[in-house]
Structure formats: structure tokens, C-alpha cells
Symmetry: D2
Subunit: 266 residues, 4 copies
């Protein structure tokens, strides 16, 4: 024990000496130089953004052949199919109008042709006013990162549902910190940092997926760590998948609109 304290003492002295000998420039890091990005005005995409929807057409989107899974088993099947089919799809049936894309109820989900891992995403959405609807039935849709991690889209303005199922929730996993919803009929925004999970060779999780979300400029997910893919039924756990997968927008039977969708790969 004495020896330990002696070592501590010596260590402390050395540290102090080291600090005294250090100069300000010793902690300057010059390389690599951060790449220049010209920011957009207001919520316009910055110079290095990939624009997924600018109001004109759905050319960056397809209708996938598979269905987003409800249980872990079906997620596994989906992932297997994804790896086989390479996410082939058909033209989406959603409508484009007034600079927005609109869910076609029954038309199925749509997904990006391009695949992504970790991203900064900006997306605007509008939940149509639909009196009489309630809970999960009121303007329901979702943004699925990598096709399986869902950020819920729902009218949560004066529409109570389960907390981990309302707007801003990581569906069935994490409620939003607060409810920052605007009324149905108004445009809303999500600004998201999604960090893709990383897997070891044996399929175990190296780093779980995490997400930070601002809803209309208000923080609702603060580097939330996900348990696994979003499941409608049951508790989730991770299933190893590819490094990059499409982003999916859900058709949940309501005419939710989206516009000004862009992301930056991280």
C-alpha cells in the first residue's frame, strides 16, 4: 500500500512537471482540417447535403417489395430478404402536390434508392386535420432509419396515445422528452442525428444505434440508445445487418405529407 501511495505521489509530481513544461501549442491539433460546408439559409440544405425530396418528384424513392416487420422474427426475415433482393422495388404511388409528397393509403411504404448508415436528417411533415380520429389512428406515419429504427410520426397535438408511441418517440422504445407538436394542418420539422449500430463479426453488438431528435427545434431525444429494431409486438434486440440501408417512410393509412427532405452522411 505504501508503495502505491509512493507511486501516486511520483505520478502526481510528474504530471505537475509535465503540465508546467507544456506550452499552449502542445495541445493544438492542426490536421486534418475540417472540410468546408456552406450552410443553407433557414432550413435549406447545406452544400454537402443529399437532397431526397425537393418538392418536384419521387425520383429518389421506390416502393419496396418487403413489408416492415412487426416482430423480431419478421425483422430477421426482412433483413435476409434485403440482403438477397438488394432492396428492389417499384415506382411509388404516393402523390406529389404543392411541393409536398403525400402518403397514398394502401400504396405502401416508400424507401430511398440510396442506402445510408449514420446521418444528419432534416425532414418536414404535416399531419392532416382529421376530426374523429384518435390515438394511433390520427395521422400516423414514421421515418424508419435503415428500414427498421422508427422515429414516430403522428398527430400528438391534443391527441393522447401511449407516450412511447407519440410524435417524437422512438416507437415502442423511448417517449419524447417533451411534446413539441404543432396542431394538425401545420408543417412540422424533425432534425435528427442517427448513429447506425456497429456489429462485431460474430453478430454481437459493438455499438448500439443512438439518436438525437429535435422536433420543431425542441430536443425530444437526447442521444437515446436503441434496444434494437422497432417492433410492434414484443421486446427488441439487435440483429446484425448491413452498414447502409434505405430510409423508409411509412404508409399507415393516413395522408401525411412530407417535404424538404435532405441528409448529410456522417
Amino acid at each position: 500500500m505504501k508503495r502505491f501511495f509512493l507511486l501516486m505521489l511520483i505520478g502526481g509530481l510528474l504530471n505537475t512537471l509535465a503540465a508546467q513544461e507544456m506550452k499552449p501549442e502542445d495541445t493544438e491539433v492542426w490536421e486534418p482540417e475540417p472540410v468546408k460546408v456552406t450552410p443553407g439559409v433557414f432550413t435549406a440544405p447545406p452544400s454537402d447535403a443529399i437532397v431526397l425530396f425537393d418538392g418536384s418528384d419521387l425520383s429518389n424513392w421506390i416502393r419496396p417489395k418487403y413489408t416492415v416487420g412487426a416482430t423480431l422474427e419478421s425483422i430477421k426475415t426482412m433483413i435476409e430478404n434485403q440482403q438477397k433482393t438488394n432492396f428492389e422495388g417499384t415506382d411509388p404511388e404516393w402523390m406529389v402536390k404543392d411541393g409536398a409528397m403525400i402518403v397514398k393509403p394502401g400504396g405502401g411504404a416508400i424507401e430511398t434508392k440510396q442506402k445510408f448508415g449514420s446521418v444528419q436528417l432534416h425532414i418536414e411533415f404535416l399531419c392532416p386535420y382529421d376530426p374523429g380520429k384518435e390515438s394511433q389512428g390520427y395521422s400516423n406515419s414514421g421515418v424508419f432509419f435503415m428500414g427498421m429504427y422508427e422515429l414516430q410520426v403522428l398527430n400528438s397535438y391534443e391527441n393522447r396515445t401511449y407516450s412511447n408511441g407519440q410524435a417524437g418517440a422512438m416507437y415502442k422504445q423511448h417517449p419524447p422528452l417533451v411534446n413539441a407538436s404543432r396542431p394538425p394542418g401545420e408543417w412540422q420539422m424533425y432534425d435528427v442525428v442517427f448513429n447506425a449500430p456497429q456489429f462485431n463479426r460474430d453478430g454481437s453488438v459493438k455499438t448500439p444505434a443512438s439518436i438525437t431528435v429535435f422536433h420543431n427545434g425542441v430536443l425530444v431525444q437526447n442521444h437515446t440508445v436503441l434496444e434494437g429494431p422497432t417492433l410492434y409486438i414484443g421486446k427488441s434486440s439487435y440483429v446484425k445487418h448491413a452498414d447502409k440501408l434505405p430510409i423508409v417512410l411509412q404508409d399507415h393509412g393516413n395522408k401525411v405529407r412530407f417535404r424538404n427532405i435532405w441528409l448529410r452522411e456522417l
Copy 2:
């Protein structure tokens, strides 16, 4: 070993059975209900924000008696003094003009009268055009969370300095992911999620401080974990401090302007 596999098998079967018996509502969480927050329009403060500066006056700020430390030793002294003096200060000498507050070179740093731990912060700043200036000399200031964790403010548009010292850097620790600077003379924005460090009773670190920063809407710090307080000289490490401390804006001798400063406690 056989016994192990048998247990695995049984466990797997039980899991499967459990999943089969689970219903969608089993994973619904209803309480607590997230509190309602009315978001602001554009970058206006949301309904639960604490407005630190709305363009009119410096009534929420004081000039502290202490100086922000350059070395770990001086940080320790500062923290000791903070705990003694309770952050007393005098009226700040900075100027308010055209809805902005302007650093008074030589007037010293200013800090919030109120103390904060983890926050979502919005702050706008303007680096005045000052040809001839370069590197750290060009429109330098900083936002110090808890008086010691500095998000650098600097003109980094066509002004090279060390990467961990440019705009968007956690000074002397983490360069920004990209350089999203606007030219000097233009207003810029930081949108920040700062998570205060947590300490054990013995002073050791339970959770280090972490920070997410958007610079003009572009992600530049992605849940970056800090090594300790910002130091001008030497390598940092944590020193236990209070749960809440003021936010400090630095006087680095340049007439940097700030406006529209608000935060939400997390």
C-alpha cells in the same frame, strides 16, 4: 457444456413462447406523459425556454470576479472560489446595440446570473470583419458551459487555425466535424445540447460531460465526450464541481456580437 446448450435451448424456447404470447399493448408506455411545449417560429424560443438575451438589455448577466482558468490548477482555484463567492459579480460593461450585445474588449467575460447544468442552448453570434487579423486573433470569443467547457467562437471562414481551436471546436479537445462557418459580418447560430458531467461522492467521474452542436444547422459535434474542463495549456481531466454553474461568454479582445440567446433546462 451440454448443460449450457440445454439451458440456451430452453431459454430460447421460453423467449419464443413469451414473444408469441406478447401483445402490441404490452410494450405501450403511457406514463408519464411528456409535457407540452409550444415550439417557437423559426428560431424564436419555445414556450419553456429561459431567455438569456432578447436584444434589450444585459439584466440576466453579470461580470464575474474570477478569471476563467488556463491550466488545471487555475480551474481548481476557480472552482474553489466559485463555491466560496457564489459567483458574485458586477454589472457587465458590454454594449447593447441594434438588438445585439457586443463584447467590450478589456471589459471581461460575462456570465449568467442563473446557474445551469444540462441544457439545450440556442445562441447567435457575429464575428466582425477585421482584415489583417488571423488565426486565433480573428473575432475570438467562446461559450463556456458551466464556466469551464468551452465551445469556441471564432471567425473560421477562410481563416486557418489549429483544427481544435476553430469555430465549432470544443476548444483544445475536439475539432468540429466540418467547417460550417459563414463569412465574418454575417450572423451565425449554434444549437447545442450540453450534458453536464456527473460525479461520484468521492469526486471521481460517474458520467463525463458530452455535447452535440449544430453550427448554422450543420452537425459539428456529435455527442462528443469531453476530457474535462477546457484548458489553454496542458491535458485536461475532471475536477468535481457543483451540479449547476453559470454559462460564460468570453472577452477575448474582439468585438464579437451575440443575440437571441435562450436555453431549455434538460
Copy 3:
């Protein structure tokens, strides 16, 4: 005739000589110096604006005792009453919620306590989604300058009505140049320059009222000259009135919302 041409010739020569002798500074005008106004960010009020509604309360508004006239005769009665009663009124019954004021159907019109002549006005409005409603019945309200010159508020997105009765129309007088309506449920903006009419002592019109209107940033009234007060029935003509009168927002039985209302006196 010869003499005429001779004079013309001499005049022309003199003009030429005069022009040749003129210096650039001869056409410089230094006084009076235009007053400095600090503009607002986005649609925030500039420094010289009078804010009529900032989202908090209706303290700048009253419920008038009179009713806005439908015919020229009733307008005359209204003007007489105005001059007698000095626009007394009671507290408005409209609701304030989420930073907006909402028409209370049956609660009557509201008007500004302060009186105005020529103004630059900014006002935002939201026509609630109300399927089944049509034509003039769909989210109808109005902005009455000087209590009698109405800029129509209506849902005119995919809702046909008579052209001089749709959103952006000077009601029953001038249709908007184009239909720049957003869908019901979304916030919309009017930016208006209203020039009050001027009367001679004998009550005849010296200068008629004129108006320029931008609807969501799109020009819909281009210095339109008005025929007189807005009438529901019949052709209008001017009736002499005071130089300054209140601005009135109409209750037409629909829960139209307003927010961010400010003006500058011209």
C-alpha cells in the same frame, strides 16, 4: 405657329445649356435624413412597429358596440356612431391559445383600441380545416382597415367562390391578382400597405384609399384604388370620416386564428 417652334427651340437650347451646367451634386438632397429603423429578423416586428398582438393577450383589442355595415346607409350610421361614441367597447371574448388569437363564433368582431390611418401591416392567419364547408362559408374572416375597408380572409385553397370574395380580395371590389393561398391548417401571411383616403372639407374625396397586399410573399393587390368602404350589398362610394380609425378583425362564424400582428404608421 412659327413662334411656337421658335420658343420650343429656345427652350430646348436653354435646357441643354442648363443640363450642361448642372453638376451631380445639384440633384443631391441631404435633408431631411430618413429615420433609422432596425428591421426585424424574419417576420419579427421592426424597431418602430406597434405590436398589436404578440401571442400573449388581447390587451390592445376591444369588442366594439357597433356592427360593421352591410350597405352604404349602415356605413354612414356606423361612422356617425363612431364619431359620437368614440369607439367604446367591451372586453373581447376571443380565445388566446398557443400564441394565437382565435375568433369566437358569435363573439363579435374585435378592433384595436388605438386608431390608425395609413399603415404598413403584418398579420398572420390560419384557416382551420373544415371539410364540408364551401365558398364563403369556409374559414371566413376579414381585416377591416379603418373599420370599413376589408381585406378578405377565407380559405381559398381548392375552395372556389366569387373572385372578388376570395382570400386576398378587397371584398366585393377587387379580386387578388393570383391565388397564393396555402391549404387550410397552415399559417399564412398578409403584408399590407394601406393608404387612407383623404377628404376635402366639403366631404368630397381628395385621394381615394389604396392598398398593396402580399399574400404569403406574393403580390395580390398592386396599389389597388378602392371605390369606397366595403359593402356586402350594392356599389360603394366614399363617405367622409376621421383621419384615424381602428383596425377591425371580423367574426364571420369561423374559428380563424391570427398571430404576430404588427404595424408601422406611415
Copy 4:
């Protein structure tokens, strides 16, 4: 005289009868229906806008062969040349950087390839900070409607010059109503309604040009009627010209920047 009053009386009675017999629908106007225009978000161009500069290149601009005139004589020569040469020009030398076009001092004015008459114009500009410069020498440029009616561009923040020569002035004719300038280095906006003059066959003026200008959202020209083309020297008067002519941006030797330029033909 008696007869006159009798006629007046009869006229009045007839009017009253007419009004009594009129129905609300008598003053409804249904055709033509205003064309639908989808407004832009914030200051983005609406759906019917012609975008002159979106930040990418100068493909809609040329460098004209002629010089903008200083006197009425030279304006006449310019107009003659315009009609001969059809505004031929060469590629502009101005630089495009960070989404803005920058005046190249000595590079000459630039003008739109397309010609316009009456327009709604949105244009953003930035006067670079340039200490030591003063009066007309500080970040001078201009927007010339039809190549000859100049809306002045200048740094007028804490930079006194003659009132009819400052930012927002119709140069050498009409000072702005107020000074709504932002400091040099910040982006500013003009939102303009320009009404082209109309001429009779004999060259006389049928309707003079008029202009309404918002500077950073603040009204600075309220349907101002112009005396004729902008002259550096001498008093102006009208010279008949074509119905449509290019819009010109001036090179006055200062590196003024422009961005987000769009217009709608009226």
C-alpha cells in the same frame, strides 16, 4: 340652379332605389378566376417565379456592351443602341462563391438575358465591411429596372450620404421613407413592385413608372412615382422605350454580393 338640385334629388332617389333593389350577389365577380400560385417558404421563390440567380451560376446574365447613362442625352443614346443591338453582350466576369454573386470591380455591370416590364422582384444583397470608405464610396451598387430606373444599393448603416442617394432611395429622385439598413457584412433584402411606364404613340407618357420597395421588410418606397430614368447629372424626364428591357446590376467598384434573385412578371 333649381334644375340642378332637382336632378340631384332624382339621382339620389334612383340610387337609393337601386341600392334597395340590389342583392349581395349583384356585386360578386366570378370570372376570371385568379391563377393559383404556390408561395415559397420563407423567401424561396413562389411557383410562378422566374429565378434569375439561385446561387449556382450566372447563366441568366450577360455583360452588356453599353454603359448606363449619366445624363439624359446618354440615356437616349443607350435606348437607341438597345433597340439596335438587342442588348447583346458577353459573359459576365462577376464571381460566384458560397451561393452569392460578387461584383467584379471594373468588370462592368451585368444584365438579365431576359427582358422584363412590370415585375415583383426579390433580391438579397450584402455590402462588405470596408472601414475608411464613406458616403457614396461605401459598398455602392444598384438595381436598374429596365436598365434605367435605379434602386440604390449602398451601405447606409452609420454612413451618411445625401438622402436621395442612400440605400432604398430611387437614386437622385426619392429618399427612402426610413433607413432600414442592416450593418455591412449582413445580408439584406429588397422586395419590390416595379410598374413599368407606359407611353403613348407620340412618345409622351401615358403612365409614369412607379415603385414600391420593402427594405428588410420595412416599407421605404410607397408607390413612388418616378420622374424618368435615373440620372447622375441633371433633372430627369421620360424617353420612350420598349415595353420590356433587362434588369441591370451595377458595378460601382465595390465587391457587393447578391443572392436569391427571383421575380414574377406582373
